[in-house]
């Protein structure tokens, strides 16, 4: 055995018998530290190759754990050489893990992607690739680049404004969110939301409304996911108390 493959950190020191072998075929077990634990299985290989089947297997185990505990999913491929080191990692990060577990308790992650389609996207035409012998003067070349830069910046601003508009109705319905604008030219918005489990339907309906209003954008809402994007509780104090099941986000 070369190490322990780690799936998740959970909010209890032990977990009941889990069905099925782990990634690499070993038996699932928990390594406790005080009132939390890491869920692991022994592996023979130095490295677990990143194959879809393995990642799905990892995910299946994380999701099975979510049915019986509060879970912080660990990144795929995490191997720890021995249990002593794992216990030390749990001890070192105990307070952070406990805070994060509290933050995700009773909640799930939803993922939103919004595509900017050709009709809406003011993508500038690209600069022609200069081929020799080019008759462009140096000045002409840079002035063309300047024009391109200005259009890119305007586009960026437009994307930001649109993303803000889309985020506003959703911010009311979620506990926390993290987002990125223009991760690729056509991916206007990529967001992850931490949502109370009973509130998932409301978010789905809100996205449906947004899709109606913004007929030229395309929406993809996936989930419920384990809270991959919310495993570090940045600042617990920044989270406002619940009020009637909905909350406004601080720093939104």
């Amino acid at each position: 055995m070369t190490g322990w493959y780690v799936y998740a950190i959970i909010d209890q020191p032990h977990v009941g018998p889990l069905a099925g072998p782990g990634v690499g075929g070993g038996v699932l077990a928990s390594v406790p530290y005080r009132d939390i634990a890491a869920v692991v299985s022994p592996v023979e290989d130095e490295e677990i190759p990143i194959l879809p089947a393995h990642v799905r297997h990892h995910e299946a185990i994380v999701e099975a754990l979510m049915a019986v505990a509060v879970v912080l999913p660990v990144r795929f491929g995490t191997l720890v050489p021995d249990q002593e080191r794992l216990r030390a990692l749990l001890a070192d990060n105990y307070r952070s893990f406990t805070a994060s577990l509290a933050r995700v308790r009773g909640r799930v992650e939803l993922g939103l992607r919004v595509l900017w389609t050709d009709g809406v996207d003011p993508a500038p035409p690209r600069l022609d690739r200069p081929r020799p012998p080019s008759t462009l003067s140096g000045r002409e070349y840079l002035m063309a680049r300047l024009g391109e830069e200005r259009r890119t910046q305007a586009r960026c601003q437009r994307a930001q404004d649109l993303a803000d508009e889309l985020h506003r109705p959703l911010a009311e319905l979620v506990h926390a969110s993290t987002w990125q604008v223009l991760r690729t030219p056509r991916l206007l918005l990529s967001a992850a939301y931490l949502v109370d489990t009973p509130g998932v339907g409301r978010v789905r309906d809100a996205v449906g409304s947004l899709a109606q209003t913004h007929g030229q954008l395309q929406f993809l809402l996936t989930g419920p996911w384990p809270p991959y994007h919310f495993v570090t509780a940045d600042d617990p104090v920044a989270v406002a108390p619940e009020a009637g099941g909905a909350r406004a986000n601080v720093l939104a």
């Binding site: 677990i48 990642v55 999913p73 995490t78 720890v80 990125q180 996911w225 991959y228």
Partner: protein
């Protein structure tokens, strides 16, 4: 399986990879790497460029739009 189910699967797998490979708790430095040196260098580049751009943005005067929301936001 219908065509729709295949596409659902594709998209769901990509969303899963995006999460399980890039997010989640990082316990043990970096995860297992394949073509190791090339991977690490790419990651380093992205971090470098993000820092440059952030530094540039910080030098611009604060306007209503820069106050209302950074391009990558958290709440």
């Amino acid at each position: 399986m219908t065509g729709r189910a295949f596409e659902d699967d594709d998209v769901t797998l990509l969303e899963l990879l995006d999460r399980a490979l890039e997010k989640g708790v990082v316990l043990w430095g970096d995860v297992t790497v394949s073509v190791a040196d090339v991977d690490l260098i790419y990651v380093g580049l992205k971090v470098l460029v993000s820092s440059v751009e952030t530094a540039t943005r910080m030098r611009q005067p604060l306007t209503a739009s820069t106050l209302s929301g950074p391009l990558a936001g958290h709440s």
